[in-house]
């Protein structure tokens, strides 16, 4: 069952099309990553998902409720952080959580529960203005978890966290997805983080979704073997037309099992083979390729 369905989302402001026919689905218990460079339409899309911006065309359905026509029911299914975790700085963490708990009609025990989950119980009575960015990020997630939502929408949740904090959040998200069948929508510019955290990824660029699929699919769609040899030119001749020279290495689109005979052929021709390894394309390389090399975020 889909927790969230975005259908043909389009936002036009004046003559500019900021988001163009974006569609995707998030399954129950799935962590969905949303990647895109700055100005790609990431934030506008997120704002349309949570009802802050009205789409020019298309619609968003959350847990079976249309965001525009059934706003209250749809929002009851989600918890979110849009862009930065802005909370009321002049109030304490507990007052902030109380504020949002009141809007949901949930009781005080929920506040203790979510504070515990993000490991913030000990600082809850201090003013949010005194919090570090990482703590505010965690308080934002705590707020989003109030009332057991079915879907978490988090914009750059790793922002401002140290490596230990990032890992903590990753494990929290994973356990929420696994143990509570919660779906998570994460946008991030940390590709490695997305690769580690997410089940599925969509790449958005210039308002359009360029690629969408599981992390494994996206990475393995361009599997190759990598050869390092002493005479790269001659080796390329021997290996044939499909061989590609990439700086000091040769890339060949073949399976692992097809490699040994080729190694024999190379050594037979007097070429020294230093290394043969599967070339794992990282999400980053795939991403740069998909977006035409523009920097992320």
């Amino acid at each position: 069952m889909q927790t969230l369905t975005a259908q043909h989302l389009t936002k036009v402001i004046g003559t500019r099309t900021i988001v163009n026919d974006v569609s995707f689905e998030i399954e129950e218990g799935e962590i969905f990553g949303f990647l895109g460079p700055n100005g790609a339409g990431k934030t506008t899309t997120i704002r349309m998902l949570v009802g802050l911006i009205k789409p020019t065309a298309g619609r968003v359905v959350i847990c079976g409720h249309d965001v525009r026509h059934d706003f209250e029911k749809a929002m009851r299914c989600i918890g979110c952080i849009v862009e930065t975790p802005d909370l009321y700085r002049f109030m304490s963490g507990r007052e902030n959580l109380t504020h949002f708990a009141r809007m949901l009609g949930v009781d005080g025990s929920e506040i203790e529960r979510v504070a515990e989950l993000v490991n913030l119980s000990h600082r809850l009575d201090q003013r949010v203005g005194t919090y570090s960015l990482g703590m505010r990020q965690r308080l934002g997630i705590a707020q989003a978890l109030l009332g057991h939502p079915k879907l978490l929408i988090l914009d750059e949740p790793a922002n401002g966290l140290d490596p230990a904090g990032i890992r903590e959040i990753r494990e929290l998200l994973r356990s929420l997805a696994r143990e509570h069948a919660m779906s998570v929508f994460v946008s991030s510019h940390l590709l490695a983080e997305i690769e580690l955290t997410c089940d599925r990824v969509a790449i958005i660029h210039k308002g359009r979704i360029l690629r969408e699929g599981t992390v494994r699919e996206l990475i393995s769609s361009q599997r190759a073997m990598e050869f390092r040899v002493n005479d790269i030119e001659r080796a390329a001749e021997i290996l044939g037309d499909t061989a590609v020279i990439d700086h000091d290495r040769l890339l060949l689109p073949i399976e692992e099992t097809a490699a040994p005979p080729l190694v024999a052929a190379l050594t037979g021709a007097g070429i020294d083979v230093y290394r043969v390894a599967p070339n794992k394309q990282t999400l980053e390389e795939m991403f740069l390729e998909a977006t035409g090399g523009e920097t992320v975020d």
Binding site: R47, F71, M91
Partner: protein
Amino acid sequence: MLALMQNETLKLLRRRRFAIVLSILTAILLIVAYSQYRILRDNARHNWRADLQERVARAENALRRGRMNPSWARSVRAEIGRLQFYLDHDIDPEKPNVPRFVRTFANVAGFLLLPLLVSVLGSDIVSAEHAEGTDKLLLTRPVRRWKILAAKLGTLWMFATLTLLCGAVISFIVSSAVLPMHGWTEPTFNGFQLAKNAVRLDTVRQLPLWRDALIAYGLEWYALIAVASIALMLSVLFRSSAASIGTMLAALIGGTILTRISPDWTAGKYLFVSALPLADYYTGEPPPYDGMTLTFCLLLLAVWAGSAILVAFTLFTRRDVFG
């Protein structure tokens, strides 16, 4: 809705706005009470009748010399009529005591101070959320936007009421330290109307001071509710606290100056600031423009407040929230 208003109250108090408003009120009232106390001490030696007569004479001289702004001249004439009336009835209209101090607060503060304080309280109730980025959270919770704005409006009205009540209570406490307490049943006169060049006396009504005070406070409350509603609209229209509070203060102060300096520009009577000193008009201060009866002022404020609320809700519930 109660939970939402609880939230808004919490935020308003935590921003310390109300504390600032109360401190300003207290500081101003302390100074005024002290000056009243000095008058009381001096009056022990002076004769109030002689004082009033002198003031009437001086005002008449000023009128005779002419070259007076017409609206100012009307005001002076009304003043002469009123003072003369009190002289004729042998009543000291300015005898310093606690009831009169509390009563006068409604007129004096209602003119500009209370509207300014209410504006400071409320003119950024929406724009501050936008400036601080918290609107993204506030508006993605399962509560419809109109309910959120209604809670904000309700809270503003509540605090406008509280500001007025606190003003009354503080003026009572402060003045009771230095002024005599009795006088709640002293007669007061109101309903003075200016006709041509003389004050009409047939419309004058006599009321005990406490009832007169209740009416003045009621009118002032009405005006403050209108101010709070307009403040809400500005807080929706602007995106930063400074812009919305600044615009509201400029409208109040600028409008007040305008109604005083250009009485010939009769369209000025449709400005909401012209109608704000309701308590003054009730007591007998002539409004700056012809045709501004109390009913007209009440209706005018209702139209302004109603339109402001309509604009605020229409915009707030429909617009896109960008960063």
